[in-house]
Amino acid sequence: MLKLVWTNSRAIPEAGSGNGIACFSGFLDETVQGDVVVPFFRVVIPNPGIGGFFNSAGIGKTAEFYDGTILLAKGRLSSMPVDLGGDTIELEFTCVPADEDEVLKEAADALRIGELEPEDPYDPESPVAGSEEYDPLFYSRDASDDPTNVLAARCELWRWHRTTLNLERVHLSRKGYCSATSLSGTLSGGTHHEIGLEGFEGALRVASLEPPRALTKLRVVAAFTQEARGTSTFPCIDPTEPIKTYSFDDLVAAWPAEGTPVGQNTGWTVAESRIESVSRDLLPDVFDVGRSLVNDDPSVVTAQLMLSAGSVAGLVRLGYDYTQQREEYLDVEMPAHAQRMMGDDRKELVDVIQLAPLNIDHVTPHWVAEDPETLDPVSYNVGDVVQANGRRWECVAEPDETERFRVGKLDMTTMTYTRWWKRVPKRAARTDETAPTYFDTDRGTRSVRHALRRLKRIVLRRAHCIEVSFDCAWEDGIAMSTRDTCTVTHRLLRSEGNATGTATGKVVSVRLVADGSGRRASVTMHVPAGSDEEIETEGGTTIDGDVSYKLKAPTARQPVNAAALPAQLATVTVVNGYAAQKSAALFEEDPVAKIQQMPTRVQIDVIPIQEEDMITRRLQVTVDPLPVPVGIQL
């Protein structure tokens, strides 16, 4: 006997007791919709009258749905009955708890593994549980708004349990479930049902869904800027090697100033510059000069000029600024080890994913003054980590300032400074900004494997491409759920040359229908069309149990070796140095004028840093055929 028991007036119904409201008909549905299973049930009960209805029922009230003493489902009244005027009313209940959105969001957020701590980074040999199933670069900053996207690289679905209203995850292909927040996703439980020949005649329906193509392709694009900024390790002009010149004052005045570029568009600038000392030679040099210097005074026979040189000891250190736009295309191609259903060998590109900026921390939330939804002021607690002013901060004491972000506050009466926020290192995917590559780094491997797992989900789901629906006994349906798998036998499921055949698949829908005395269950399953031929493997790295891949990565083109820039030497030429000045001024009528025409200068020559528009690198991942269960022989 089908019974409805309002939970707010509950008494545990016993067999034959008067507890509960007898139902004229009942309908329970547990079907995969997108990536979530939200069971619901509908019952038709005698109309208690509008007053009776609003006293016991009402939107959001919960009720339990029994078959005798068997609890079939529990749920919340999700909508008002269309008509309250008939002898009977139809009520629809959804099998979710009152705080369903929060529960789902919380569970999804538990699976979001952000950038790992720099001291404990991602290790491809022994990855942290869940770190390949989630890569923040594949998601936008607002990723947590959509709890279903977190399963994009897991072969799982969310499911609300219809009698406990707990959230759990069920597998796309295998029986079993795991807790909603389990990072490893280890399956337990679930049942395999053998319906055999016990399905009801006339209700079998077999349809072909879209099978996977011979090759399924996913492209991931990582665009990043290779950057190298810094100063040379060695100064190009060293104070221990002073420059000797007559025109030392002029040289000091013309000494390369900090910040001036070296040459034109070379990428080098003067980063550090100073004069340490200027010393004069003790012994002056003697120049014979003509009498014109003494206005042709006839009393002068010969004239000599004594010029004293000086040594300028100074330091110049160069700085470099290299930025190079780079782009890496990762093409992942996965064949499915399925039976050939489509005649063509075509490739299908399922998605092109542009990774989020690699050098920006887009996991840590930004500091906000008020909640964007409720418009209430946000209070932060010790341990919260936020981004503000382009930096990352951890809360060390509860701030009492909510209007704007402040690191701390000075109490003017006690003159004590309270620190609220401590600066912590930023978390970005690329920590070494000078590296010219991404996908073949350790962090990049995490992205590659995440992409592989995404593709696996797509291919595996598509490989379950035969939809088989049938009706069976009510009791079988009560025992069945989307946790389970099922086998049926039918003459029309035979392969060529056989009298009968079986189909084994994942249960994607169970409907229990009770109308009057007629009770039956309608079940739909998705049957994988895997092949039982041996897989030709090419070897490589195996992840997730059955995905073997090889990464083909060409060497990155590096017009500039960014890592070697600090050690790169500049050539310094002293133009018109002491020797040149002296030899030019000797035997000159007016050596001073000559020297003035030849001021001493330092000339710095560098190898210019070549920046190119965009350097593109293409990487290829080849994958062994993905094993698909053999659910049916075609």
Binding site: A15, G16, S17, F200, E201, G202, A473, S517, R520
Partner: protein, 163 residues
Amino acid sequence: MSETYPIPTALIASALYPGWQSCMNVTTEYAPIAESANIVRTWNGTAVNLTAPQFRLYRVTLSCDEDLVPPALAHLWPGERFSLVPAEEWSEPTTKPQQRAAHTGTTRIVDAHFVAGTSGRRLYRPVLDLVVTEPWRVSVNERTKLHSWQLVAEEYAHPSLGA
């Protein structure tokens, strides 16, 4: 009145109040209710009844011709419950569970030769908890004073459900 008139029927039903010149000629018809059968066949060809066991209920049709006193039917509106012990016995093999409670003192067990024993056939008059499911009808002829009537009832609920 000192003379008592005999009751012409063994049928026990206080709601019908059978008595002198009423229910003299009752025919009782039993059948499972229609909802007890909802047969489908599996892919093997096996017949399966989709109906829950709680629908294994009886339908009772009481009909009578040539009563001289009208039966007490006026209050038996459809939906009214009443209790009935039919005049005739039911019969079941003792290997099967007894389907309905027996009226006190009516059970006897006989073998195929109708010799009383402990196994064989169980004969008893059941106690049926009925509900009127169809409007009854009575027709009477003024000249002959003959009443003919029919009452259709089904069991209220399966005994396993209790009250």
